[in-house]
């Protein structure tokens, strides 16, 4: 494989420009869907590279949203080499990651991440995914969510969705709770095509995810954002958010990587929800909507088939 440095080829710098422009679209779409909430923009520059952290707090429906873009490069450390099983001198990576928490318990939490990674040894790959974490699982909504992702994947390769759906089930899993984070979605990593044409496919696919992401969530906001809820339903949301915090701080690789490399801590932890609660041995009443949700927090559910 040759190094992808020419104009119009798929390289990380070109990808970064495309991703950054899609970040702008995402934020604009969310502002429109929310009605009152606005994103603040924090540009940061470090020796390692630059980024733009966009955060919305206390909108009408969106309680806390982070949409982060970054483009960094540096020395390929021994730790990275061990982790990735490759030898190289330098790396370059760009990505967009986002998490949205709504104040309304009937609007799920959503997470999206895409990234393009390359090494100076010629390796170049894409990773990413979208997953949904409802406070109350609605099977029809979960089916629509998965079908939407499947439709995008199927445009490129019909093997993608089934493989990446399983990957998401395995990745977004709280081993210490023996439960999934939510209804999953898709997750993929190190998709390293053998040629330029296939690299372009992966770039296009990740761009499709960046485009569908605000469309999916705007629909969920529209459908659920103004549903009335009780104090007990709000409490259940805060308890479920506790699981989200546990996943991000204990398991999530991106968060761990950020914490270990002394990254921009406020950007990394903007993923955490605003109000969270931990209750000792909270057990939803048998047969309640809360108990039904808890029973669905397991791997291997074929949401599309239903």
């Amino acid at each position: 494989m040759t190094l992808l440095t020419k104009e119009n080829t798929v390289n990380v710098s070109n990808t970064a420009a495309i991703y950054k422009s899609l970040q702008t679209t995402i934020c604009r779409t969310f502002e429109q869907a929310d009605g009152t909430g606005k994103f603040t923009q924090d540009e940061w520059q470090k020796e390692i590279g630059s980024g733009l952290t966009c955060v919305m707090q206390n909108g009408s429906i969106i309680e806390k949203a982070g949409v982060n873009f970054s483009h960094v490069s540096g020395i390929f450390s021994e730790n990275m080499a061990k982790l990735l099983g490759e030898k190289a001198n330098t790396f370059e990576v760009t990505g967009v990651s986002s998490i949205i928490h709504s104040g309304n318990p009937f609007v799920p939490t959503i997470h999206m991440n895409v990234r393009h990674f390359s090494l100076d040894n010629g390796s170049s790959w894409f990773g990413g995914g979208i997953d949904l974490t409802p406070t109350y699982i609605n099977a029809i909504e979960a089916r629509w969510f998965h079908q939407t992702l499947k439709d995008i994947c199927d445009r490129y390769d019909t093997n993608f969705y089934p493989e990446w759906k399983t990957w998401a089930d395995d990745y977004f899993y709280l081993t210490h709770r023996h439960e999934t984070r939510g209804v999953g979605g898709i997750f993929f990593d190190r998709m390293q095509p053998a040629n330029e044409a296939d690299l372009k496919i992966m770039l296009n696919l990740t761009c499709d995810l960046l485009k569908i992401y605000p469309v999916i969530y705007s629909q969920l906001m529209k459908d659920n954002g103004y549903k009335p809820f009780t104090a007990a339903q709000k409490k259940w949301q805060k308890i479920r958010r506790g699981r989200y915090v546990e996943f991000n701080l204990i398991h999530d690789r991106g968060t761990k990587f950020g914490l270990e490399t002394d990254g921009n801590i406020e950007s990394i932890l903007v993923s955490l929800p605003a109000e969270v609660e931990w209750v000792y041995q909270n057990q939803p009443e048998a047969g309640s909507p809360e108990a039904q949700t808890q029973e669905l927090l397991k791997k291997g559910i074929d949401w599309v088939k239903g």
Copy 2:
């Protein structure tokens, strides 16, 4: 060193009986100091051993308290051998750990832990400590807290307090935030005496910590438990609690050990506060009590000297 298996010698089984009876005293003292809150008792039995998890939720002053006793034994795994740099076939350990969170922002969060560990190769050691995490740091209170711990340590060895105070500064440190968890206290591990007499000293010292712990906290509850507070002060408490969650899930060795060994998850995470909040880039106003507290979250402060 000979194995400590005779009656009246310091061995883990004898220590377990003493620790368990002190757990009862701790819970009784907290119930008296709180006035209305009561501890629930959950006894658990697993192949590895047994324990008693005592939890109070929603008392008058205490919002959430866990006082956990456990006594377990098992195969000394390769992971443990690597971690401890010793060879052995089996281990046995007993301990009490406790964390108290108050609903009142002027009552600090406190943590106490003591443990006695032994291996079938003859090694036998103690570890533990007490540390304090105020929402608002009160220097007079911090001084009194440290002086109380120093007085206990000094009864046994005047080197203990200065060494263990530094150890606590280093241990209760959020590397990703570059701040200490609170005003520290004492922390020690693998105190492995060479003879029976010195083992007894360590046993007595850990028992003194178990006895002073509820005395210290009852005083803090009495002094601060009914102070009025504003919504802004409560919010600051929830934000500081976010740091507590970060420390426990990211850094704390005991929590990590529990999560990795598939321990009793509700007992392990009873340490987490009830209501928590994360706010992006929260910056207390310069000169405010919140900013003053934040400035004191650093290592090396000689609280006793003041």
